[in-house]
């Protein structure tokens, strides 16, 4: 029996049939090759990631992992946020609390004054950008500009003190009685002025004869706060400590140490903000791991006001104040807002 090619009606062994069969085998092979190429191209396209959405795919050793330090043990957080004031500034620099718990914020080219409930009360306009400020008991506002201080008394003419020179970077002002203390981070020194703008003494310079190692300032962030009994507290950020000086510049004591752990001060230079509490304790602010913490009068860690979770990553330049009710007032430079923290009640 002869096998027939039914479709074409000719014997299957006819040369034309075998030629056609050979062609269709080639066609199948070509089709398979094309399909494989298309599939491979699809896989390549799917696996390639021109938009970078899949990440770098670098190994773990290339990942900077500081997650562990960005989490705060909730048991250590003794404060909660109870209020927030939007400053309306593009840039905020410094905060202070004045009489009647008025909140003074230095930002852009002005000082904004809010009452304790956050109501915008008034604005003091300035010719340049303020860096920091302090409010005296008589209501005079001492504004630290980049290289000098300007005094804005409530009902008198403003005064502009002499420039501290090209290198000066004024980062903090504190007032106590007839003394005005000005931290000049650019020159690594704190100046003690009288209220007329005359320099009385220089504090924090290295002096071997007095056993003073000196302020170590890698980034302009020296802060000052006046404590009880004629003590000036000065942050020495490059040495991760807070130092107590007499008003004449003698170093009396210090506390603080470097550590990423919650008890210490993190990074290359901290703390960057300081408040002296009426009970002798302190509130500190840090950069790197932005955190606000409370220490007792011996410099022992007590609790956390706000940990890194409360701030945007990369927050630098927190400033602090405290009001008569013990509320911690935090100036958040990323949120451009004043954030008010109060102690939690026992059951909170």
């Amino acid at each position: 029996m002869r096998l027939m090619d039914k479709r074409r009606g000719i014997p299957a062994c006819h040369p034309i049939v075998t030629r056609l069969a050979g062609r269709s085998t080639t066609g199948v092979i070509i089709a398979v090759v094309i399909a494989a190429a298309v599939a491979a191209a699809v896989v390549v396209i799917l696996r390639s990631d021109p938009t970078g959405r899949g990440g770098s795919k670098l190994g773990e050793e290339f990942v900077y992992d500081d997650k562990e330090y960005r989490r705060t043990d909730p048991a250590l957080v003794n404060y909660k946020e109870v209020g927030r004031i939007e400053t309306g500034f593009q840039t905020v620099r410094g905060i202070a609390v004045g009489g009647d718990d008025g909140i003074y914020v230095a930002g852009d080219r002005a000082v904004a004054v809010f009452d304790r409930d956050g109501k915008d009360v008034r604005r003091i306009t300035l010719d340049d950008s303020p860096q920091c400020l302090a409010v005296a008991a008589n209501g005079a506002v001492y504004v630290g500009m980049i290289d000098h201080v300007e005094v804005c008394p409530p009902h008198r003419r403003r005064a502009k003190w002499d420039s501290l020179g090209e290198r000066a970077i004024v980062t903090s002002v504190a007032v106590s009685g007839g003394n005005v203390f000005v931290a000049d981070s650019g020159n690594s020194v704190v100046l003690r002025y009288d209220t007329s703008g005359k320099i009385i003494s220089r504090i924090g310079r290295a002096d071997k004869s007095k056993d003073i190692p000196g302020l170590l300032v890698r980034r302009p962030c020296v802060d000052v706060a006046v404590g009880g009994e004629g003590v000036l507290w000065v942050t020495n950020p490059g040495r991760w400590r807070v130092e107590a000086y007499s008003f004449d510049g003698d170093l009396k004591s210090h506390w603080g140490r470097q550590s990423e752990n919650i008890e210490g001060f993190c990074g290359c230079c901290n703390p960057t903000a300081l408040v002296a509490l009426p009970d002798g304790g302190f509130v500190t602010g840090e950069k790197g791991l932005p955190r606000v913490k409370v220490y007792d009068d011996c410099g022992l860690f007590k609790s956390v006001v706000a940990g890194p979770e409360a701030f945007a990553k990369g927050t630098v330049g927190l400033d602090l104040a405290v009001d008569s009710q013990g509320r911690i007032i935090v100036l958040d430079p990323v949120a451009k807002a004043v954030r008010v923290f109060a102690k939690k009640k026992d059951n909170q």
Binding site: G52, S56, R218, R219, G238, E260, C268, C269, L289
Partner: protein, 189 residues
């Protein structure tokens, strides 16, 4: 600090600060000089805006060159010369010395030299740097942001479509004039 590190040290920090900053600019300047010679006026090249870069790691793996044309750069004028440098050391180093186990850079590309108590100078070995940005993140998180990434024009092919620019999540790549191909920290740009 080891005795060797002390002996290698210089005594005038200001000298190092100014001189080294000059050195960085001369180094990048030389590369820029070669680029200018190759480029016509009005030409542009790719560069990273260090203020936008979030050190995501993509610069190390998306460049068509292996290793990447992106390298870490150190702005000496911005650096704090910290003994405890967070671009150089692991977050919790076992010791504050240059032992490999204490170093942050996975390729060992950062060199440190004692300047004077308590200051150190840091330099990048570009043959080892792959542009991963790990040190950049450490320095910007805890330090002065003196370390940052730049496309190095002595090797970049100036692709029409830069593969990293397309993959950059921070939109940090931009075209800059070939005559001024670097965007340096500490300089206004």
């Amino acid at each position: 600090m080891s005795e060797q590190e002390k002996q290698d040290g210089l005594t005038r920090r200001e000298f190092i600060r100014n001189g080294a900053r000059g050195a960085m600019l001369v180094g990048l300047g030389a590369a820029a000089g070669g680029l200018i010679a190759r480029s016509r006026s009005g030409d542009t090249v790719w560069q990273i805006d260090p203020d936008k870069c979030i050190a995501c790691g993509n610069c190390a793996t998306y460049c068509v060159l292996k290793p990447s044309a992106v390298k870490c750069v150190h702005a000496f004028g911005v650096c704090g010369y910290c003994e405890l440098c967070f671009g150089f050391f692991d977050l919790q180093p076992a010791g504050i010395d240059a032992g490999a186990e204490n170093q942050l850079c996975p390729t060992g590309a950062i060199r440190r030299r004692f300047v004077e108590e308590p200051y150190y100078e840091y330099k990048i070995d570009e043959r080892l740097c792959i542009g991963c940005g790990k040190c950049v993140e450490g320095c910007s998180t805890f330090g002065n942001s003196a370390l940052f990434l730049q496309v190095r024009h002595d090797r970049c092919l100036n692709c029409n479509e830069c593969a990293i620019a397309a993959a950059c999540p921070a939109d940090a790549f931009r075209r800059v004039p070939a005559e001024r191909p670097y965007l340096l920290k500490g300089d206004k740009h």
